[in-house]
Amino acid sequence: MQQTNSTASKMSGRHWRLMFSDQVFKWFCLFSAIVLCVVLFSIVFFMGKTGVLTFEFVKVTEYFFSLNWNPGFDETATYGAGIFFIGTILLTLLTLIISVPISVGIAVFLAEIAPTRLKETVRPILDLLVGIPSVIYGFLGLTILVPFVAKVFGTQLGDGLLAAALVLSLMVLPTIGRISDDSIEAVPQKYREAAYAMGCTKLQTIFFVVLPAARRGIVSAIILGMTRALGETMAVVMVIGNVPQLAESLVQPTSVLTSNIVMQIMAVPFESTWNYALFFMGFSLLVVALLLIVFVRIINNRSEVQ
């Protein structure tokens, strides 16, 4: 009798402890989520609030469309950030043009064609490449790629959009490649079987069945790669030349949003138009990156059956 009693009380003690830790964990998760939301909101708010001050001194149209970037502390200063916006757009596009075909090609090769042994070697290597600090890519670009580009084009300097796009392509290639690879691998075997059973070749099966079925994952991969290219700073600074001028060729030193911010922000006082203008560049990057990520979420959440 006594024994039964003590077991019962032990049981209820255990039950109570479980309930308690459950509750604590729940509140902890909720708390973390709230903290994260607050942090995200504060970042956006702080960047935006400071950045928007630009437009007390500079016309919106001038800021976005003028190509005259002559910041300074007297009346002659102009804040045409158009070059940097155009530069970032060009650099991102060029990066995608180079990296998407290659990385999707690698993904198809890994998921559909490569023998198992090769897959098992290449995948971890790509995963490692994702983690390499960008300054290392910058070093390689600076010491190998830039001189090479200069030689090929016969220019004095090799810095510019081409060098930056090549370095960025190398950086985003593992990201786009591995995510695409995973989404191709996740296409159910039954679709491939249906195509083969009708007499399709391997190539037809890949292009007309597997890739369309994996397209959401591939698009997400490309967008994630794109956000990385948009926001990459260090590697770009090291190979783009950092001259605030619109590039007239792919091998002319120029600047993009990130590289210009990092080159100039140290030199400007906090309460200056120049500083605000740089902040708004950062804010623009932030908004675009957030929109892209939201877009990825939307694609991934849409159900398979429309």
Partner: protein, 251 residues
């Protein structure tokens, strides 16, 4: 043409595991041949030999002779793609592509070079009619194939297999995932199809084999134990094991 499909001493190994042992079998043109037997006895494996789907699995070794209409399937210069086009297959779970109903059917013909919209329209209608699905979907050809019910999806897959005009249709437990009414519809459909096609079907369901097929082959552990006209096999089985199986004593 009693040996339209002819298998002679077929052995198949998955690595070192032997899944088919000295299979000898004939199937006649425009007949329905059914494979029955407990699960894991090699029915699907044998069916997949008939359109060389086993080529897709690594480490499969096949010996013996398989021919359809007198042509060896595993000959040195067999064109696997045109062979598979000629020997269509319907799988256990419906697997329409994530495309519209129309595109599902037009998929095969397009791959084989049909571009004209008029011809594709014609093929789509003809195939859907042959699979007795046309009346149900003719107003919604643009809708996703996945929006159909399971039974409709399976008939869509049959229509898709028919779209490239095969001579033989292989069906691997094509009704296993369907409700009784859809199953009945597909059984009726198969009966109609045998006018134009030679059909080999695997079925888990003995009654189905008895209802639908002209010839039944009973498999056990990778061997064909008995193969006879369906009535004979079910009424007067020669082998004790066949009798045990069809009377439900195992499996």
């Amino acid at each position: 043409m009693n040996d339209y499909i002819n298998l002679h001493d077929v052995n198949l190994f998955y690595g070192t595991n032997q899944a088919l042992k000295d299979v000898k079998l004939q199937a006649a043109k425009h007949e329905i041949t059914a494979f029955i037997g407990p699960s894991g006895c090699g029915k699907s494996t044998l069916l997949r030999c008939l359109n060389r789907m086993n080529d897709l699995i690594p480490n499969v070794k096949i010996t013996g002779e398989i021919s359809v209409a007198g042509e060896s399937l595993y000959g040195a210069n067999t064109d696997v793609e045109s062979l598979r086009k000629n020997i269509g297959m319907v799988f256990q779970a419906p697997n329409p592509f994530m495309m519209s109903i129309y595109d599902n059917i037009a998929f095969g013909p397009r791959r084989f070079g049909v571009k004209s919209k008029a011809i594709l329209d014609e093929i789509v209608e003809k195939s859907l009619r042959a699979a007795v699905l046309w009346d149900e979907v003719k107003d919604q050809l643009k809708k996703s194939g996945l929006s159909l019910s399971g039974g409709q999806q399976q008939r869509l897959c049959i229509a898709r297999a028919l779209s490239v005009e095969p001579d033989v249709l292989l069906m691997d437990e094509a009704t296993a995932s369907l409700d009784p009414i859809s199953t009945m519809k597909i059984e009726e459909l198969v009966q109609q199809l045998k006018k134009d096609y030679t059909i080999v079907m695997v079925t888990h369901n003995m009654q189905q084999a008895a209802r639908v097929s002209d010839k039944t082959c009973f498999f056990l552990n990778g061997e064909v134990i008995e193969s006879a006209p369906t009535k004979t096999l079910f009424n007067n089985p020669e082998d004790k094991r066949t009798e045990d199986y069809i009377t439900g004593r195992f499996g």
